[in-house]
């Protein structure tokens, strides 16, 4: 019972992902596209999750600048990492879906291009974090980029409306009810997965910070010993 209490989120996530997977495989296929349309149940929730993750990064960044509490920085960084993974998944799933439907993996289509650039923006954000060693400086610089990078999110979202092209605009309301329910189930399942991953990543980030702090303490004591231990009496040239 203790395991169930401690792991209720993980257990619920596995259950809902299982139901979502089963439903996406068994729900009636799209009349026009056939079974290939089922990839929508991975593609759309991945894209939704990427937006959610990057919005959380923006909120965490703004909160860090306001409070200087490292927990907000960990939230922003962890969410950005998950967002990058799911943006990549959305792009790959979209490309697999595009091949049979559009005839090619990639087209120079606004939603694809803006999403790919969103991926690179947050890769840059993560690269910036790796480039700065001091935790406070890293948090400060990353927080600014975390807010500026969020400018891109509405552009990606509205790109299908602004530049009408191959990619269809949001159609969640217009598709048949069984398909819509399956899609929403997928979104809920992915959101649960995000919560689990975020919780684990936050814990990992906290442990990483503790480890860094311990390493720093140890390196300080070694340097101190080097400076204080040698004496003139033991010098080889004396």
């Amino acid at each position: 019972m203790t395991i169930v209490r401690n792991r209720w989120l993980e257990i619920a996530t596995v259950a809902i992902i299982g139901v979502s997977l089963f439903r996406s495989m068994t729900v009636v296929a799209d009349v026009t596209q056939g079974d290939v349309q089922r990839i929508m149940y991975v593609h759309v929730p991945s894209a939704w999750l990427a937006f959610l993750a990057f919005m959380v990064t923006m909120v965490g960044s703004a909160a860090w600048l306001r409070t200087k509490d490292q927990r907000w920085d960990r939230l922003a960084a962890s969410s950005a990492e998950i967002g990058v993974v799911f943006t990549g998944l959305a792009i790959v799933a979209g490309m697999i879906w595009a091949k049979p439907v559009w005839g090619q993996f990639w087209t120079w289509e606004p939603r694809l291009v803006t999403t790919a650039l969103l991926f690179f923006i947050y890769l840059g954000y993560l690269a910036l974090r790796r480039a700065v060693i001091d935790p406070v400086q890293r948090a400060r610089r990353a927080a600014i980029m975390g807010i500026v990078a969020a400018v891109q999110i509405p552009i990606v979202y509205y790109s299908v409306n602004w530049w009408r092209s191959l990619h269809q605009p949001s159609s969640a309301r217009s598709i048949d009810t069984p398909l819509r329910i399956t899609l929403l189930l997928g979104v809920v399942a992915f959101t649960f997965a995000y919560a689990v991953l975020l919780r684990r990543r936050l814990e990992l980030a906290r442990l990483e910070e503790e480890l860094d702090a311990k390493r720093f303490e140890q390196s300080q004591s070694v340097a101190g010993a080097d400076i204080t231990v040698p004496s003139l009496a033991s010098h080889p040239h004396d």
Binding site: L65, P110, V113, T114, L117, L118, F120, I121, L123, G124, Y125, A127, L128, A131, V132, Q137, R140, R141, A142, A143, I144, M145, I147, V148, A149, V151, Q152, I155, W162, W163
Partner: protein
């Protein structure tokens, strides 16, 4: 000293440094011009095709080679300069605004310098050209803002020269889209107001972000 006077003095200082070295005029602009000459050799010298592709290629060159203009600014701003500006009591927001004004002016100069070369080599359709007086400054301002913010967050980082373009280029997408689509709209005789609004909105969002982030940025490089 008033806020605007501080902005003026910071911008003047940056432009004075540029006027002494003339890096943008004598090095970056010829480098961009050389790129515009080389591109047709790679994609073919078909005149109608080049006429159609010219404006898009121009914006790509402005965006990518504009990085050199932006990086130049962060390279000349050493720790001693930053310390001096701080000791003089310059407001962080004024320092940010001044640096942005100077960088935007240099990017605008770069854009204008490449314009005649584009016209001479690619012979693009110039329908609605007076709109360029609006489009060019809007793009230059956006790049200046983005460059000043990105240069601020990457100051004194060892990998700055690689990291800054990685941060700026994907974020400049709305500027590139706004500029290219506006020119395309002019060519086809369509309305370009939505694209100008996009450019203005992005500039405004970046300006607000930059001014709000000016103090944390200053603390970050201390």
């Amino acid at each position: 000293m008033t806020f605007w006077r501080q902005v003026y003095e910071v911008a003047r200082k940056d432009l004075l440094v540029e006027s002494r070295t003339a890096e943008v005029a004598l090095m970056t602009a010829p480098f961009g011009a050389a790129a515009l000459i080389l591109i047709p050799l790679a994609i073919g010298t078909d005149a109608p095709l080049l006429s159609q592709l010219g404006p898009g290629l121009y914006w790509i060159v402005v965006l990518l080679f504009g990085m050199l203009v932006i990086l130049r600014k962060s390279a000349v701003d050493g720790q001693a300069q930053r310390d001096l500006v701080r000791l003089l009591g310059i407001e962080p927001a004024a320092a940010f605004a001044g640096a942005t004004v100077a960088t935007s002016a240099l990017v605008l100069f770069f854009e204008v310098a490449l314009g005649p070369i584009l016209i001479a080599l690619y012979n693009p359709e110039l329908r609605g050209w007076p709109w360029l007086f609006v489009i060019l400054p809007l793009v230059a301002t956006g790049m200046g803002l983005l460059g000043t913010i990105a240069s601020g967050v990457t100051t004194s980082i060892g990998t700055r020269t690689s990291l800054t373009p990685l941060l700026i280029v994907p974020l400049s997408l709305p500027l590139l889209m706004g500029a290219t689509q506006a020119l395309e709209g002019l060519r086809l005789g369509r309305g370009i107001v939505p694209w100008l609004i996009l450019l203005f909105a992005v500039d405004l969002a970046l300006a607000v972000s930059g001014v709000l982030a000016a103090r944390p940025l200053e603390e970050a490089v201390t």
